[in-house]
Every structure is written in C-alpha cells, then in structure tokens.
Amino acid sequence: MAQHKVNYLQDAGLPVALTTVDKLVQWGRSNSLWALTYGLACCAIEMMASGASRYDFDRFGTIFRASPRQADLMVVAGTLTKKHAEFIKRLYDQMTEPKWVISMGSCANTGGMFNTYATVQGVDRVIPVDIYLPGCAPRPETLQYAVMMLQKQIRRESAFQKLKPKRLV
C-alpha cells in the first residue's frame, strides 16, 4: 500500500474550513438552482438562449428540469393566460420547498401589452414572485443577472426557515 504523508503545516494548511450550517446549506442551494422549464411565449426563446452554450446556465448550477418535483426555481417566461392560470398554480404547488419564482418579462410582471380579458395581469396574482425581471423580452444576460441576484438573496437567508408566508400563500 502506498504510503504518503502530507505536511499540513508546510503545504496549504489544514484541510479544514470553518463556516456555519446556514452558509453551507445555502451555498449548496444557491449553486444548484434547478429551474422548471416554463416557457409560455417569446421570452422562452431568451430563456433557452440563456441555457445554451453562449450564456451557459450550467456554470451557475442552473439546469432546466421538465418536472416540478425536481425543480426549485420557476422562471415564468411569457404571457400567462387566464385559462392557464390554474395549471401554473398547480405546478408551483408541486414544487418542493424551498422554491423561488422569477417573473420574466413584461407580460409575466403586469400583463404587459396584453391589457385584455384573457390575460392574467401579472403572475403575482396567482403565485408569489421573488424577482421581477423587466423587459420585452429581457436579454439572456438580464436573466443571468436575475439568477445571480436570486443566488445572493438565497445566501443571505437562513437555511431552516419555513417559507415565509408571501402574498397569497
């Protein structure tokens, strides 16, 4: 058997890092934000571009999942119609906690230019939203920035808090 000896005092110091459980857990969570694919309209194209190689969400640990059970981030990309509202609520409820929502683009934020009878005037009427991302459609670097802001926000939170009762929940 190979014998080896590491001189901790000479090399890189002891292989020990001191931190808090909160920081460790939230560091892990913020760097593995798996997003639910939720493309509803043209914003989805920008969301796909953010996931593809040029902007590359994988390096943030954000991987798109097709199942709400495996996702903890919902990027609502596009126009939410009233017919679809019950399904977004159901999918949100199916996601495991902790979970976060980015409302991407004008339509998801306020209904945008679709000031009509058939459009939900902002997804926050149905599910709680953490980050509102303006733009029509927001460019991929904007969505990337939103994810980075969300990561920051997660790292400041405590790991074991129950999901704070946001609006409607």
Binding site: A85, T110, T116, A118, R125
Partner: protein
C-alpha cells in the same frame, strides 16, 4: 381646427378616434365579367335561391338563405371543385340589424379561384354544421361557438375551443368589453382561490404608467430594495459581493496584475 386635448396623462387615454374615418368602398364587378364564376353561379342558381352575387377583389361572393348551406357546400365541393374550406366564421352586426353574418371562404385548387358564401342569421338562430362535408369546419365552428355563441346543429363535439369551458360570455361580440366583464376580471382568482380572496388580491391594476417607489408592496427600486411591505428608505442597499467573504475554498481569485494579454491568437 383640431379639438382641444388635455396634454396631461396622454398615455392613459386612447389618442385615436375614428371620427373622420370612412371605410373606402371596395369596387364590385358583375359576375358576368368572369367566365368561370359565371358558370359556377349558373349552376348554383339551378339548385337554390341566390339572394345576391358579385365579384369583389377577384373573389366571387354569393349570398344565400341559411337553410340552403349544406346543399350549396356539397355542390361546391363535389361538382364545382371548390375542395378547400380555408375559413369559416361570423361577424357581429347585432347593433346594426340584430343579425350575425356567417361567411365561408373556399378555394379551388384546380380552378385557382376563391369563393365566399355568406348568409345572415338572427341572434338566437342556430346554423347547420357542415363538418360532414369539410373536416376543417370542425374547429372553425367550435371557435365560432366559443367567440359568438352561435350553435351549429349536428356538430358532433360542440364545445369551447379557445376559452376555458366555464368561461362566461362570448368575447368577440362587439358588446363584450376588451378588459372583460365581471366574470372575466376575477376569473383566475375565483377559480383558484375562491370568491372570498377577491378582497385580499385586489382588482387588476392595468395602469402600467404608475410608478410609486414608496409602495414597497408593488415596487422595488433597483439597488434600494427593502423587504416586502417595509418602509421605503432612500439609502442604497448593500448586497455585498457576489462571492462569499474571502472567496470559496479551492478557487483562487482573479487578479489583474497576474494576467497576461495576448495580441494575437496562439
């Protein structure tokens, strides 16, 4: 002289009015000017009563009685080679004459001609379905039922196509408001949470021109964010660095002075 307009809150109002707009008339030609159309019309006249007919924008328009529609469509498809029904819908003339106009847009691939069949029905009248003649009439008639509430008799599966099944009202009627009626405004709230949640969620705020940085429930100023619902303070918020303090173990920080610039590709 133009009417006086208040310049405040211009964006909130519709700036456009069709006070002086008059739709330009489309020239109509007599059917005898086109040989193929004249023959088609002659054939149709031998079958049913034709109320009016003319050529508009190189299309033959035939106005018939509502009861003759199946006969006309069958003849057009089987005998006159109009084998493609591209569109079928209605127009709301309820305010004008308490009637709907139903139109069928047909195309003949072999003749390279387009033809339109029209008829008027009163508001409560049902029409005859033609889905046994043209398959494409299936969804078109469902859409017409969805948008205008016009029932097609003998349709095998007449239910709403675009709107949810429990929707109230018919959106393409001219009497239907663009921003929706009472049921439409609260549709998603009533369905998901129940009527008692209307007070909590509040009415739809459709005025996108409004910005209030002190309202921290609906707005968050960039780099001045405060937690939801707390009092707004003008101070910039500090989120700290993107990375943790002192960096992440095993990953060294990039330093400009250690970098090397390349003038050309290696």
């Amino acid at each position: 002289m133009r009417a006086y307009q208040d310049r405040k809150n211009l964006q909130k109002k519709a700036y456009y009015s069709d006070r002086f707009f008059k739709a330009p008339p489309v020239p109509r030609k007599d059917v005898s000017t086109d040989e193929i159309f004249a023959n088609d019309l002659k054939h149709l006249k031998s079958l049913v009563k034709i109320k009016d007919s003319y050529i508009e924008l190189d299309q033959l328009v035939v106005i018939i009685e509502p009861k003759d529609i199946c006969k006309v469509m069958l003849s057009l498809k089987q005998e006159l080679e109009y084998d493609f029904l591209s569109e079928l819908s209605a127009t709301d003339f309820l305010a004008k004459s308490n009637q709907f106009e139903i139109f069928y847009q047909l195309l003949s691939m072999s003749k390279r001609k387009r033809l339109r069949v029209k008829y008027m029905i009163s508001q409560d009248q049902a029409i005859d379905s033609i889905m046994h003649i043209f398959k494409s009439a299936d969804w078109a008639e469902r859409e017409m039922f969805d948008m205008f509430g016009i029932v097609a008799n003998n349709h095998t599966y007449l239910k709403r196509l675009l709107m949810p099944e429990d929707w109230v009202g018919y959106p393409l009627l001219k009497s239907y408001p663009l921003e929706g009626d009472e049921a439409a405004k609260w549709y998603e709230v009533d369905k998901i949470f129940g009527k008692e949640y209307r007070d909590i969620i509040g009415p739809e705020m459709r005025d996108s021109a409004t910005i209030n940085i002190k309202d921290t429930k609906n707005f968050a100023r960039v780099k001045h964010e405060v937690p939801y619902g707390e009092k707004y303070s003008g101070k910039p918020t500090d989120f700290g660095n993107y990375q943790e303090d002192g960096g992440v173990p095993l990953i060294s920080k990039f330093k400009k002075e250690n970098s090397k610039e390349l003038n050309s590709r290696k």
